[in-house]
C-alpha cells in the first residue's frame, strides 16, 4: 500500500520527531558543523514536505530521507570549501551535552570521575570516526548507528554492495588501529 505523507500536520510532526535528530546526526558527523547540519536537515524536510513523496513502507521512507541527507551533505561539502572551513574546527563538540555511558562493563557511571571518563571515551570514539575518509565514515555510521544492512547502505549511497562491504572492512581496519584494538566490531 502506498502511503501518502502530510495528510495532516500531526503525521508530519511524527515524521520530524522520528527522523530529524537521526538525520541531523548523519549530517553533523559528515559536515562537522552544527549550523550546516541543521541547514541540511531543514532542507531535506522542506523537500520532503514540498514534494509530497509517497513511500511503500517505512523502510522506503527512511532510505529516501537518508539518501537525500547524504546528497545534501555532499553538495555543501563541495560547494563551500568545507574542508578548509572545518580545518580549524576539528573537535566534534560534545561539551555541554549530557554524556551517556559508553563502556558496557558494569559500572554505574554515577560519580563525576566516571562521567569524565565516559565523555573522554565518547570523544575518542567520535574523533576516530571523524578522522575516517568521508565515504568510510558514512558506511560505518549507517551500519553501526542506523543498523542498515549492506544492501540498504548500497541503496542510500548509490554504491555497489561489494563496494560497501569493502569500505566497511577498510573503515573497521582503520578504526581498529586508531582505537588500539579496544573494540569488538561484530
Amino acid at each position: 500500500m502506498i502511503r501518502s505523507i502530510h495528510d495532516n500536520s500531526h503525521e508530519f510532526q511524527d515524521i520530524l520527531d522520528c527522523y530529524s535528530d537521526r538525520l541531523f546526526k548523519i549530517a553533523y558527523l559528515r559536515l562537522q558543523n552544527r549550523q550546516d547540519a541543521e541547514d541540511v536537515v531543514q532542507e531535506v524536510f522542506y523537500q520532503y514536505y514540498r514534494r509530497k513523496a509517497e513511500f511503500i513502507c517505512e523502510e522506503h521512507e527512511k532510505a529516501w530521507l537518508i539518501k537525500v541527507t547524504l546528497n545534501a551533505c555532499r553538495k555543501i561539502w563541495r560547494s563551500s570549501w568545507n574542508k578548509h572551513r572545518s580545518s580549524g574546527n576539528d573537535n566534534i563538540d560534545i561539551d555541554g551535552v549530557e554524556q551517556e555511558p559508553v563502556l558496557q562493563k558494569g559500572s554505574s557511571f554515577r560519580n563525576p570521575e566516571d562521567r569524565v571518563l565516559t565523555a573522554e571515551s565518547n570523544q575518542a570514539l567520535l574523533t576516530a570516526v571523524k578522522l575516517l575518509p568521508a565515504k568510510y565514515r558514512d558506511v560505518i555510521h549507517l551500519f553501526y548507528y542506523e543498523d542498515l544492512s549492506i544492501r540498504e547502505i548500497g541503496e542510500v549511497t548509490g554504491r555497489k554492495e561489494s563496494t560497501v562491504t569493502s569500505q566497511l572492512t577498510r573503515g573497521r581496519d582503520l578504526l581498529k588501529k586508531r582505537l588500539k584494538e579496544e573494540y569488538d566490531f561484530v
Binding site: D17, Q42, Y145
Partner: protein, 265 residues
C-alpha cells in the same frame, strides 16, 4: 573488549540533538532565508579559502600587459603567483585581501610586511545577465550550451572586483567560477584549497585562442570528485570547478572558452 556498536551508538547519542517543529515548514520565506544565508556562507567560505597577497607599489600599464602568473598544483589546492612575487624581490608594501573578517595571515620569513585586511561588501545577483547589467567588470563565462543540459540556478557574487559564480545543473552536476583581478598590483600570490583529500592528474588544455588552462582533479578516497581548471590571463586569475561532468564535456568547454574580454577591458 567493548562492543563497538553499542559504544558508538552511545557516543553518537551524546552529540547535540536537533528537533524540528512541523509548523515551520509551510513557510516558503523561511526556506528562502536559509538558502540566502547558505549562499552567503558559501561565498564567504570560498573567499576565505583563498588567500591573496597583492603587492602594491610598482604598478604600471606597461607591466600589466605582460602579466602572467605561475600556476602550481599543491597537495589539495592551488597556488598562483606572479613571477615577480615568486622571486626574492624585496617587498615594499603589501596587503592581504580576504573578503571575510577572519581574513588571513601569510608569513614572510625575511621581510617585514605591513598587513592590512580589507573587508568588502558582497553583492549577489540572481543571474549572469543581471550581473552584466549592473557591473562594469570584465568576466569571461563559458558557453553553457556546451555542458549538454539546461542549468537551473545562476548566482553571481561580487566582492570588490572578485567574482564567485555558481551554476547548478542538477543535484550531481554544478559549475563554479572564481575570478580575481590583480591588475592594480604588480605582484600577487593566491593560495586556494579544494574539497577532497588531494589533487592529482595535472594536465593542460589549450583553448582555441592559444591560452593555456592548468587542469587537475581533486580526489577523495581515490575517486575523482571534481575537475578544476585555472588560467591566468592579462591580470586576472580564473579558477573553474566542474562537478559531475565527463572529461569530454570539460575539454570541449575549455577548448571553446573565449577569454578575449580580458584583453578588451
Amino acid at each position: 573488549m567493548y562492543n563497538f556498536r553499542s559504544a558508538y551508538q552511545s557516543a553518537v547519542n551524546s552529540l547535540p540533538e536537533f528537533h524540528m517543529d512541523a509548523a515551520q515548514f509551510p513557510d516558503e520565506s523561511y526556506h528562502k532565508r536559509i538558502i540566502f544565508r547558505r549562499r552567503k556562507m558559501q561565498f564567504t567560505a570560498a573567499v576565505t579559502a583563498t588567500v591573496m597577497i597583492l603587492l602594491c607599489g610598482f604598478g604600471t600599464a606597461t607591466a600589466m600587459n605582460n602579466w602572467k602568473s605561475v600556476i602550481q598544483i599543491k597537495d589539495n589546492g592551488l597556488q598562483i603567483s606572479s613571477s615577480i612575487a615568486a622571486s626574492e624581490t624585496p617587498i615594499p608594501e603589501s596587503r592581504i585581501r580576504g573578503g571575510a573578517e577572519s581574513g588571513g595571515i601569510i608569513g614572510q620569513s625575511d621581510v617585514v610586511v605591513e598587513v592590512e585586511i580589507e573587508v568588502y561588501e558582497t553583492i549577489e545577483y540572481g543571474s549572469i545577465e543581471e550581473f552584466m547589467k549592473n557591473e562594469d567588470i570584465a568576466a569571461a563565462f563559458p558557453d553553457f550550451t556546451l555542458f549538454g543540459e539546461e542549468h537551473s540556478l545562476e548566482i553571481v557574487n561580487v566582492m570588490n572586483k572578485s567574482l564567485y559564480v555558481t551554476v547548478e545543473f542538477s543535484e550531481e552536476k554544478s559549475f563554479y567560477l572564481r575570478q580575481y583581478d590583480y591588475r592594480e598590483y604588480t605582484n600577487n600570490h593566491t593560495d586556494m584549497l579544494f574539497p577532497g583529500e588531494e589533487t592529482r592528474n595535472e594536465r593542460t588544455v589549450i583553448n582555441y585562442q592559444g591560452l593555456e588552462f592548468t587542469v587537475f582533479d581533486s580526489l577523495e578516497g581515490g575517486e575523482r570528485i571534481a575537475v578544476h581548471a585555472a588560467v591566468s590571463c592579462n591580470g586576472r586569475n580564473l579558477v573553474l570547478d566542474f562537478y559531475g561532468f565527463e572529461d569530454e564535456i570539460i575539454n570541449k568547454v575549455l577548448n571553446k572558452y573565449d577569454l578575449s574580454t580580458y584583453f578588451d577591458k
